[in-house]
Subunit: 405 residues, 2 copies
């Protein structure tokens, strides 16, 4: 169900043969795996989006920013295997054509279609293949194809990533569902993250764009490192009103509830990305509480979760709390060592300015679980946040040493 | 010779048994490898230093900042194997005692001694061992022990790192020599970099502190990532006047010449660090020219050299220029794709907004050399800089997965 869990959303997929060169697929003839999907809504959606901060932006990102201005989006077309980035004027033409081909099939205007691409940089999209893929995907739209869509957008991901939740809003049951891809998050210099959350809530126009950044800040931005964003990163939220509730107004209690539900889906998807990090064997959750602000807590948590040395220590089952303290120290967040309290897997390892003489075997056992929770209590204020990472393994190097070739 | 190349500098070393747990040394009984050195100058030095920006600072860094205020340093005492960080009040006492024990042996005041530590965080220094090590090192001072000193400060380094150069200043021949350690630079969240440059130039008091930051910005700071600094990072420059030249004044042509010579030593040491990166098999030099400023060029070069995806691509011999363009894009430096010109090993791979159809076999051959030069011409201004990195290999993960245990 996933991205088609909310009423009025359908998905269709196609195998166009563009998803070559992805790890694990190289031995398989391209064309066998789905590499394109179309998501269609029965009604025009209120839509919000946040995109990469990279100065080099995929043509698809630029086109989406343009199309979002009129806020009447009703479909998404996404391909994997080719990022359509660094492709010059041809790239823009191709992204626009992707939208137009989909719009023609779905009886929409081109600016009602958003497009996303993920994969290798610097190659032109094979538009003939995309054209027939769009025809095929639009011809097979169904509410049952949510997981197939999540699978079609994968690159080095090993599992499709979906989540969904219900909530009651003003007497109506509202559904929220989502999907995402992205697995190069260990040090995500360029591994594209794409995420889509759909809901059938009725909302006042503009609400989604008001909520999307705050949701991203407490979810997807916490599995990545600020500034290190891909050419293609995109997070889109769409609300089509099919639930029939009274439209939710910005600032209302209902808006907060809807935001919380969407954030829950976003956080579940974020954890799925971290768990499926390239070569990862363990999910690392870092909680920071007692920071001077939520922003500082986010910064500190992210620094720990993205530290290569913390990641390798976790991989090796090595209770090296010094690396965690060090990452907190360079994060830029306010820190007072004498107030810091640090636990790994529930065991206190640091307090009052120095390490605690704990049972290292117990700590090591905590590191060896499939999920490890690191909690840093800073003792400075009320700010809190989580971040998610994974361990860094030899396998990560193998995956990335030979991605295009 | 190295750090003792300049006249009036002598070094002594000792094996105290604190250098346990370092990679490659675990099978060897601790105590066999030197893990402490003392550098002594016959005359009080004009001294400048730059230190970690980490909010968690080793006790040794704090003590050095204090001792530098009187600017009459005449000796350095450095230990490896233990960072004396996160050690609370005891750590400060121990760092001060290290200085005092050395001063007593050398007939100096304690504030004439600077101390550095590198190694595991969160353990107290074994002061009995340090006491006897200082006695032994001070008892064996010699101008021949420069390389031995460089070896004593190693942790996961595989080779000692030294450099030296001569220059003529105002009729006198001035010598400049240096040493450094640091090999966890692939993603240097916490791998300490220590660097020391000595010269026998006579200089006006305060000149070294005026020059040190600018030298670091064009050398050691370009093998690391801004903000990701260890608890212990230190770079010290000492000038003792033994060359007998007229004291060099700030702002003079001679000061520029001395700075250039020191920068040359610093850059040679920086390249040695990159070449010896943990698990590294190749040195990557990134040159950025045509940036809007030198600062922007430094930022852009560093982003490329520190990108895990560029590093793994180089390791795999994979001519994936898209990752280089992407790293330039997220670096924060000004970038106009249509003006960008990019070469790998002298072969043009990107120009005028898109990739060039080059002989991929030739590009791959360039990646397979022990040194790979990536040159990005931004076409925006006069700013230029270099940064150095190395490839990211499976071996890096192995080294860091099990550092303390």
């Amino acid at each position: 169900m996933a991205v088609t869990y909310a009423r009025g959303f359908r998905a269709g997929t196609a195998a166009c043969g563009i998803k070559a060169f992805t790890a694990g697929a190289s031995a398989m003839p391209s064309g066998q795996k789905d590499d394109l999907c179309v998501i269609h809504s029965a009604y025009a959606c209120d839509t919000g989006g946040v995109f990469t901060t990279n100065k080099v932006k995929s043509a698809s990102v630029v086109i989406d920013q343009l199309h979002l201005q009129r806020n009447r989006v009703q479909a998404l077309t996404i391909n994997s295997g080719n990022a359509n980035a660094c492709t010059g004027a041809q790239g823009f033409k191709d992204a626009l054509l992707m939208a137009k081909l989909s719009a023609d099939r779905l009886d929409l205007d081109p600016d009602q279609v958003l497009v996303s691409s993920t994969g290798v940089i610097g190659r032109y999209l094979p538009m003939d293949a995309i054209r027939s893929g769009i025809a095929q995907a639009c011809g097979s739209l169904s509410a049952e194809q949510g997981v197939a869509a999540a699978r079609a957008i994968m690159t080095t991901d090993t599992v499709p990533k979906t989540a969904q939740v219900d909530l009651d809003v003003a007497g109506a049951t509202v559904r929220v569902g989502g999907m995402c891809k992205g697995s190069g998050m260990i040090h995500p210099n360029m591994a594209t993250m794409l995420a889509y959350i759909t809901t059938d809530a009725a909302v006042e126009p503009g609400l989604m764009s008001k909520l999307v950044r705050s949701i991203a800040d407490r979810s997807f931005n916490q599995v990545t490192v600020d500034g290190d964003s891909s050419t293609n990163d995109s997070f889109l939220v769409l609300a089509n009103g099919a639930a029939g509730n009274d439209p939710i107004q910005a600032g209302s209690a209902e808006a907060e509830e809807l935001k919380a539900a969407m954030e829950q889906v976003a956080r579940e998807l974020s954890r799925a990305i971290a768990r499926d990090g390239e070569g990862a064997t363990r999910l690392i959750t870092v909680k920071v509480v007692g920071a001077t602000s939520d922003g500082e807590a986010r910064t500190a948590a992210r620094a720990v979760a993205s530290s290569s040395l913390v990641k390798t220590a976790v991989h090796g089952g090595d209770p090296n709390w010094g690396r965690i303290v060090c990452a907190l120290g360079y994060s830029g967040a306010e820190l007072a060592l004498d107030r810091l309290h640090l636990t790994i897997g529930g065991l206190v390892v640091f307090e009052r300015g120095s390490g605690v003489n704990v049972d290292l075997t117990a700590v090591r056992r905590a590191f060896e679980q499939p999920e490890i929770e690191i909690v840093a209590t800073l003792g400075l204020g009320e700010g809190s946040a989580e971040a998610w990472g994974c361990d860094l393994s030899e396998e990560y190097v193998r995956i990335n040493a030979d991605y295009t070739t």
